[in-house]
Structure formats: structure tokens, C-alpha cells
């Protein structure tokens, strides 16, 4: 039974469609990510669901009720913004309590719920501080507490981690996911970062140019890209056209082929038909750029020990596991 259901949603900005005919459903408690490059319409879609941007057609059903005619105030949706959007004139406590104040919740309940929400994001000690006295990560946790305190039916996260530095981003990512699981809160997360999408989501909707090009769990999106865009956007696929692929595989291939760099392997045994062009160290992985039969490929190899490193110019044998090749449209 779907909790959120978006049907034939359309949006046009001065004549140009941002997206048309968007369809998807989300079940209760699911964490769904809209992933795509900037300008693909994912943020606009999120703002349409929130009611901040009017739609030109279609339905958004939330728990069976069409919310398109409702104002943002009446939709019962919480949202966290990339810019935090904390109210600078209010303390952390007042920020979190704002939604309850608008609902005219009495002072005792409001205080109790505000404290609970701050506990959830581990910021009780900061209740009396002002937003400008907090770090970026703390600000975003306050924003999260503020959007949770009104107990929304749906939580929208609009690139909430993009303005934070890498370490805090990782930590907050886990914290958001843990809270979402604990509250069993249906959540739509927008990001352009594939790693965030892959690690956090129950399901990912990959968007491009106003369309959802593929949806599925992280494993499906990663291992079976639906088209060349999906292959190019997720992971570091070697994307070959039919002719090049035929040359590489030495058999006729009729469509484009995507090969994940970590499915290729290099060794000194076998026919040394491959030349190492250059390599870069990514930490746990060594990324080689190799050439075989006039085809350039990227090969990722686990960095087990320094002795295993092939120097540039070395001839090695390349083996390709045919079962991991993806033919893409």
C-alpha cells in the first residue's frame, strides 16, 4: 500500500517543461532519494511536493489525500533546506518550538516536545544559543529537530549535507538515517551525490532532464544501469560504443556496453596485450588507465601491498568477467 503517490505530475517554467509526467509511489517509512545532476528537476519536484512551487498538472496523494490543492501550511510536511534556513533572531529552542507555536500548542507540551526533539539530535546543551553561535553541522541538526517536532507525515530533505565538510557530512548522514528509522518516517531526500544516495536510501530514483530514468535499490542502480546516463552518473563505468566493445571483446556486440572498473583484473600471467598508461592512488584502490587493442579503459584494483603496483608502461594481461558486462541502451 503506497503512502505517497505522485501521478502524472507536470511543471513548466515560462514555456519550458521542468518535468512532465512524473510517476512514483513510496511506502510508509521508506527512505527514498531523488538523485541527479543539477538542473534535472529534482529540487523543483521536492518543492512541488512541499507546496512551495505550484504544479501545472497531476496529483500528489499523501496517505490517500490529494495535497495539490492544499497550501504548504496545511500539508503536514517537514522540510530541511541546504541553507539550514534557521531563524537568526531566535534561539535554538525558539527555532525548534516555532512550528508548535504556530499550532498553538500549550507551553508545557511545547517545552516537552522541543526538549525531546533536541535530545533526538543531541543538542540539548545548545538550547539557549543563537544559530550564528553554532557550526554548520549543528545548524542542520537544529533544522532537522525543527522539522521533526511537528510530527510531519512526510519529511523532505533538500541537499541538507551539501554545505557541510566531508567528516561532518558522513556523521550526519548516519544520524539522519538512524532517526528516520527510529521514527519510521517516510522521507524524500534530494542529492547530486551518488555516494550519499547509495549509502542512505531504501530506494533511489535517478533523474535526468525532468524524467526518472531508473529506480531501484542501491545494488540494482549500481550493478544494472538502465541506460548510458545511469552508467555514466553512478560509479565510474567504462562506457564503450558497440564498435569499440566488439574490438575489445573480440566478438560482435550490437549495443553499447558498460564495464565497471573493479570487475576488470590485471595480472602478469597470460597474454600481455595490455599496457599501463598511468595510475593514480585513491587510497584503498589503485586506479589504472590502461590500453588494450586500441581501447582505453579504467581498471580499479584493491591496494593490497606496495609491491603489487604495476609501473607505467608495463605490459600485463587483462581479464574481463563476461557476466558483469552490462549492455545499455
Amino acid at each position: 500500500m503506497s503512502f505517497v503517490s505522485v501521478e502524472r505530475l507536470q511543471k513548466t517554467y515560462s514555456g519550458t517543461p521542468v518535468f512532465s509526467d512524473i510517476h512514483f509511489t513510496i511506502t510508509q517509512g521508506e527512505f527514498v532519494t531523488l538523485l541527479g545532476p543539477s538542473g534535472c528537476g529534482k529540487s523543483t519536484l521536492l518543492r512541488c511536493i512541499a507546496g512551495l512551487t505550484p504544479v501545472d498538472g497531476g496529483k500528489i496523494l499523501l496517505d490517500g489525500q490529494d495535497i495539490v490543492p492544499l497550501s504548504p501550511q496545511k500539508r503536514d510536511i517537514g522540510m530541511v533546506f541546504q541553507s539550514y534556513a534557521l531563524f537568526p533572531n531566535m534561539t535554538v529552542e525558539q527555532n525548534v518550538a516555532f512550528g508548535l507555536r504556530m499550532q498553538k500548542v500549550n507551553a508545557n507540551d511545547s517545552h516537552k516536545r522541543t526538549t525531546e526533539a533536541l535530545q533526538l539530535v543531541e543538542l540539548n546543551d545548545f538550547a539557549k544559543r543563537y544559530p550564528h553561535q553554532l557550526s554548520g553541522g549543528q545548524c542542520q541538526r537544529v533544522a532537522l529537530a525543527r522539522s521533526l517536532v511537528t510530527r510531519p507525515r512526510l519529511l523532505l530533505l533538500d541537499e541538507p549535507l551539501s554545505a557541510l565538510d566531508a567528516r561532518i557530512r558522513k556523521h550526519l548522514r548516519e544520524q539522519i538515517r538512524a532517526i528516520q528509522r527510529e521514527l519510521n518516517l517516510t522521507t524524500i531526500f534530494v542529492t547530486h551525490d551518488q555516494e550519499e544516495a547509495l549509502t542512505m536510501s531504501d530506494r533511489i530514483f535517478l533523474m535526468n532532464q525532468g524524467r526518472i530514468v531508473q529506480s531501484g535499490d542501491a545494488q540494482t542502480l549500481y550493478a544494472a544501469p538502465a541506460d548510458a546516463f545511469a552508467a555514466g552518473f553512478i560509479g565510474n563505468y567504462n562506457l564503450l560504443d558497440a564498435e569499440t566493445a566488439s574490438r575489445l571483446l573480440q566478438r560482435p556486440v550490437s549495443s553499447r556496453v558498460a564495464i565497471r572498473p573493479e570487475t576488470l583484473s590485471l595480472s602478469l600471467q597470460g597474454e600481455p596485450d595490455t599496457v599501463i598508461r598511468n595510475h593514480s592512488l585513491l587510497g584503498n584502490v589503485i586506479r589504472y588507465r590502461v590500453e588494450v587493442r586500441g581501447v582505453e579503459l579504467i581498471v580499479d584494483v584493491l591496494n593490497r601491498s606496495p609491491g603489487d603496483l604495476y609501473p607505467d608502461g608495463q605490459r600485463v594481461a587483462l581479464s574481463i568477467d563476461n557476466s558483469t558486462l552490462c549492455e545499455v541502451a
Binding site: Q73, I77, M79, A85, F87, P88, F98, Q133
Partner: protein, 266 residues
């Protein structure tokens, strides 16, 4: 940099600052001394000190009336500009950001036309006919409104751009606030600083405005600067006392406003 060099540099920097300060302050200091001198003509120093010029000034009903007039006109013009410009700014920045470019041209107009020129135009337009306002405070209020517009618009715009208006409004509305509640509870308190700066700047400028006041209204509704001009043939001690009083008033006002405006959250 060696210690000696840095000392020399620091002495140099200090002396420049002090010199500048002195140059700015000297005329004011001279005026102050002159306003408390009993007489000061053929001697290097005044012959004696007295407060009689101040008591004479503050006992003069014509001065008090002019002071009141200035105050009234300035405050009315500023109230009008706040009431009109705040909603305008809000609409421009929240709903029609493209209008900002147009507004930036519009607000330059009061600067582009010199007061002497525009006052001739205003005299033509409002001197007779159904909109006869010349000689009344109303024309001055309207005119000062246009003078204050650029100060108000710029200062508050800078403030608005610093607070990310759109996200704040969106966040407040999703939390259940109406547009009005969002504007009053979330946006307005964060514009206080810009608003205070704009008001102070406009007020000190308008309080000292002479050209419009003299040409459009003159003695029919005498303001402080027009009064000062009309007193130019009386004792210099008296007018000095007036200038110092005027200056002190603006100074105290600015200081009080700054004090009140101090952010409790910082």
C-alpha cells in the same frame, strides 16, 4: 619587519588618524568655543565664557517651533517611507526579484537631479491647481520621502540579501505560519539592523536639509535649517549655539539608537 620599523609605522599610522580627527573636529571645536564665549573678536582667546547664548536660543519660541517642525517633517517622512518601502522590498525580493534592477535605477533618480532643479519642478507642479501644497509641510514630507528612498532601499536590500529571505519564508510557512506571520515573526526582526541604519542615515541627512525646505516652504513652515539661515545676520554666538545644539541632538540620537540596536544575541 623589525621592531623599530613597526614602531615607526605605528607612530605614522597614529599621527595620520589623529590629524584627520583633528581636521574634522577643529571647525566644530571652534564653533563650540564661540558658542560659549561672551565675546571673541580682537583677542586670540575669548574674553570670557557664558551660557547665555544657549539660554537665549532655548528660550526662543521661534527656535523651538522650527525645531519641532524639523522633527515632525523628518519623522513623518521616515514613517511614510518605512510603511511604503518595507512591503515594496518584500514583494520585490520575494515575488519579483527581476524588479530589483528597475528599482536600482529608480532610487538613483533623487540623486541624479540636483535639489535646486527638482524643487523648481515641484514648485511648478504643486504651486497651484488641485495639488497646491507649496508652503505646507505636506510637500516637504513627500519630497523628503523621495530623498530617503535610496538610503532606505539600499540599506534594507543589503540586509535582505544577507538573510536568505526565500528559504526563511518557505521554512516558516512549512511550519504552519501564514505569509503575514512569517513576515512579522521571522523576516522583520532580522531586518532591524538594516532598518535602523537606514533610518539614522536618512534622519541625520533630512534633519540638516536646507535647499528643499527653503525653496518649497521657506518661512511659512520654518524648519531648523531655514531658521538658521534667517538668523545669519544676528549674533554669530547665537547661531553657533544653534549649530552645536543641532549637532549634539543628532549625536545623542545616534548614540541612543546604536545602544538600543545592540544585538542581545551577540
Amino acid at each position: 619587519m623589525s621592531r623599530a620599523e613597526s614602531t615607526t609605522a605605528s607612530v605614522y599610522h597614529r599621527s595620520v588618524v589623529w590629524l584627520l580627527f583633528l581636521i574634522l573636529l577643529l571647525p566644530l571645536l571652534g564653533t563650540l568655543v564661540y558658542s560659549i564665549a561672551s565675546s571673541w573678536s580682537a583677542t586670540v582667546l575669548p574674553s570670557g565664557f557664558t551660557l547665555k547664548w544657549y539660554s537665549q536660543l532655548w528660550g526662543d519660541p521661534r527656535f523651538l517651533t522650527a525645531f519641532g517642525h524639523s522633527l515632525l517633517v523628518c519623522v513623518a517622512a521616515l514613517v511614510l517611507s518605512v510603511v511604503l518601502i518595507l512591503p515594496l522590498l518584500f514583494v520585490v525580493h520575494y515575488h519579483f526579484p527581476r524588479l530589483d534592477a528597475l528599482m536600482n535605477i529608480l532610487i538613483l533618480l533623487p540623486f541624479a537631479v540636483p535639489p535646486v532643479v527638482s524643487s523648481v519642478g515641484l514648485l511648478q507642479l504643486y504651486g497651484s491647481g488641485p495639488l497646491r501644497m507649496v508652503g505646507t509641510p505636506w510637500i516637504l514630507i513627500g519630497c523628503y520621502f523621495t530623498v530617503a528612498l535610496p538610503f532606505m532601499y539600499r540599506a534594507i536590500t543589503n540586509n535582505l540579501q544577507a538573510i536568505n529571505l526565500r528559504d526563511l519564508m518557505d521554512a516558516a510557512q512549512l511550519l504552519g505560519a501564514s505569509t503575514w506571520q512569517a513576515a512579522f515573526l521571522v523576516v522583520l526582526p532580522n531586518l532591524r539592523k538594516g532598518l535602523m541604519v537606514a533610518l539614522l542615515l536618512s534622519f541625520s541627512f533630512l534633519f540638516g536639509e536646507f535647499v528643499f525646505a527653503n525653496i518649497l516652504v521657506g518661512t511659512q513652515y520654518e524648519t531648523l535649517q531655514v531658521f538658521l539661515n534667517n538668523m545669519r545676520n544676528s549674533s554669530g554666538h547665537f547661531t553657533s549655539a544653534l549649530v552645536i545644539s543641532y549637532f549634539l541632538f543628532v549625536l545623542v540620537l545616534t548614540w541612543v539608537a546604536t545602544f538600543l540596536n545592540k544585538d542581545k544575541s551577540q
